[in-house]
């Protein structure tokens, strides 16, 4: 009895999952399998008869100093971007969730806050290249207000470039965090806050004892996703700095792209991609375990 019930439940669950699974299997698992397979051969695409060579490409990559630089830059880039996304996203969402301001004011600000999100990455890159140009408006404002003495080469100065691309990525990435937080905030029952007010809790205590715990599942999901996506950011970097100057903004994505499309080493590029895949899969695994522990 119990067993047949369980079978039914399983069948129903997979019924609900089937469209997702079919789509992902055909259009995602298959290409991923091909990438893994590529990474174990000596050179694909450009070579008519590739040979199986095992993990040689992985060893090559792990020994490449540019790969090390890429790992380091990617970590900095991802960490800084994601932390900033979280703070800005949560902060703006809470400001927008206020009961203190009239409806239209909130609508206005909410609309302004999502603007960066509406631009395609090619335009984001071009726009910021104009703004951060040595004779661009950002330098002009900073110099004329006396914040800096002379115009800076934000994107071309090896010391500033990574900072500059992180800034751009923060700018175009936080709205998505904010929207999710806003939806989450609005899902928190007002009664919880009222009860806390009755208990005499102040704003800060309410934030730590109600807001944060209630948002926790969404925050954790968003962090995971944002880490994965930010680590894949390619077009923005490519169109602003091309990974330069001096490899200072070389990320795993630009490194991989160069291997594939500049050196035609598709197998090595695949190996580099698989490394990223494994890191991301570990994150995904930790996330799922965390979720199960919570249940």
């Amino acid at each position: 009895m119990a067993q047949s019930r369980q079978h039914k439940v399983t069948a129903a669950a997979f019924g609900y999952l089937s469209p997702t699974l079919v789509l992902l299997a055909v259009l995602m698992a298959l290409p991923i399998g091909m990438v893994v397979w590529y990474s174990l051969q000596n050179n694909v695409i450009t070579n008519a008869n590739p040979e199986f060579i095992g993990f040689e490409h992985y060893l090559d990559i792990f020994g490449d100093s540019q790969f090390h630089a890429a790992i380091k830059n990617t970590s900095v880039f991802v960490l800084a971007s994601v932390v900033a996304h979280l703070f800005l996203g949560l902060g703006f969402a809470m400001l927008l969730n206020t009961q203190l301001l009239p409806h239209w004011v909130k609508t206005l600000f909410r609309t302004i806050f999502v603007l960066p999100w509406l631009l395609t990455v090619a335009i984001v890159a071009v726009l910021w290249r104009l703004i951060l140009n040595p004779s661009g408006v950002f330098n002009y404002l900073l110099v004329s207000t006396g914040v800096i003495d002379s115009p800076q080469e934000w994107l071309a100065d090896p010391k500033l470039a990574l900072f500059a691309v992180v800034l751009i990525n923060i700018w175009c990435g936080y709205p998505f965090f904010m929207i999710s937080m806003l939806a989450g905030l609005q899902g928190i029952s007002a009664e919880l806050y009222e009860a806390a007010s009755v208990d005499g809790a102040g704003l800060i205590r309410k934030f730590f004892s109600i807001t944060l715990p209630q948002l926790r599942p969404i925050i954790i999901s968003m962090l995971l996703l944002d880490i994965i996506w930010t680590s894949h950011q390619f077009t923005l970097i490519w169109m602003t700095t091309g990974g330069g100057p001096l490899d200072r903004t070389e990320l795993l994505s630009t490194y991989t792209y160069k291997l594939a499309f500049s050196q035609y080493m598709f197998s090595a590029a695949s190996a580099s991609a698989v490394v990223v895949l494994v890191i991301s899969a570990v994150l995904a695994f930790a996330y799922v375990r965390h979720q199960r522990a919570r249940d």
């Binding site: 335009i123 029952s189 009664e191 390619f234 895949l277």
Partner: protein
């Protein structure tokens, strides 16, 4: 501890404070406190709006300038040669207009189809316990872990083999693959915040599981679905790498590719690129303003009552 206080209190009713006795009732202070709170909130909002909006304003004004004025120093917001010419150049070009149509068709289809598929998957993850659940969950999440740039070559071959090259379905299905994991994770998260008693009660009353999903959970989860829908729309709207690779003729290309077509070998049409971006964003802003209502209604009071 004080279960008696749960009696519904209208949000505007002043909390007297006498009840807990921790705070003396000082009316003046509470008014001025409110004022300080409003001021601080506004200051925060304005600072944030400057950060978010200033570059966009710059783009907007640049879209009217002539190309050399975009590079002029000192930079000016309004210039003498500002005109509508860049906009007219785009609006008078049927080829460019087609890019907009394509972008809307693809993005809307992606948003709707993704939501449709994702709510069912999320329902399974949130409400069912079945063997292999965590493996399937990990698989769904980690498929998006591959950097798209390396997937390009095998993916391209696959799409060609399936006959989806240079078609709407090719782009739509591709974007769904990228948006589905996110949509499923988020919808699972939202469903998890809804008490299981809700749909279990419906099930006891004889509703099928499918009915419980559609009649109980989905109506409550609308704010979450709107934000997920917005997100998937934006992913499809802004995506560039696959749009470029999976299409080859102008009647299938989307706005981001249209913008890149303005980046020539020797020079860029800077103002037209900006204008195209503005034109592309306007309808999306309207869409956003319209859908905002759904965030606001929220799940605030309704969920616990039933």
């Amino acid at each position: 501890m004080t279960t008696t206080t749960v009696t519904p209190v209208p949000p505007t009713a002043p909390v007297t404070g006498v009840r807990t006795g921790r705070r003396p009732p000082r009316k003046m202070t509470s008014v001025s406190r409110r004022r300080v709170a409003i001021t601080l909130t506004l200051v925060g909002l304005i600072l944030g709006a400057l950060f978010a909006g200033a570059p966009v304003i710059w783009m907007l004004f640049s879209s009217f300038k002539s190309n050399p004025e975009i590079f002029a120093y000192p930079p000016q917001l309004l210039t003498e040669n500002s005109s509508l010419a860049p906009y007219l150049a785009i609006l008078n070009d049927p080829r460019q207009l087609r890019f907009f149509v394509n972008s809307y068709v693809v993005s809307l289809a992606v948003a709707v189809l993704t939501l449709l598929v994702a709510v069912h998957a999320a329902y399974a993850f949130s409400r069912y316990d079945f063997p292999g659940k965590s493996i399937v969950n990990i698989a769904v999440i980690s498929v998006q872990a591959v950097p798209p740039i390396t997937l390009l070559i095998p993916y391209f071959g696959l799409v060609v083999a399936l006959g989806l090259y240079n078609t709407y379905p090719g782009l739509i299905l591709t974007y769904m693959v990228f948006t589905l994991p996110y949509a499923i994770i988020m919808m699972t998260g939202y469903f998890n915040t809804l008490p299981k008693e809700l749909d279990e009660a419906a099930r006891v009353d004889g509703t099928s599981s499918f009915g419980a999903l559609w009649r109980i959970l989905i109506p409550i989860a609308v704010p979450g679905m709107v934000s997920v829908g917005m997100y998937t729309f934006m992913i499809a709207w802004n995506e560039y790498l696959f749009a470029l690779t999976l299409t080859r003729t102008d009647d299938m290309r989307t706005v981001p590719i249209g913008i890149q077509l303005l980046m020539g070998q020797h020079s860029y049409d800077w103002n037209q690129m900006m204008a195209m971006s503005v034109l592309g964003s306007l309808p999306v802003i309207l869409l956003f303003i319209f859908f905002q209502r759904y965030f606001i209604g929220g799940m605030t009071s309704g969920s616990v009552k039933s």
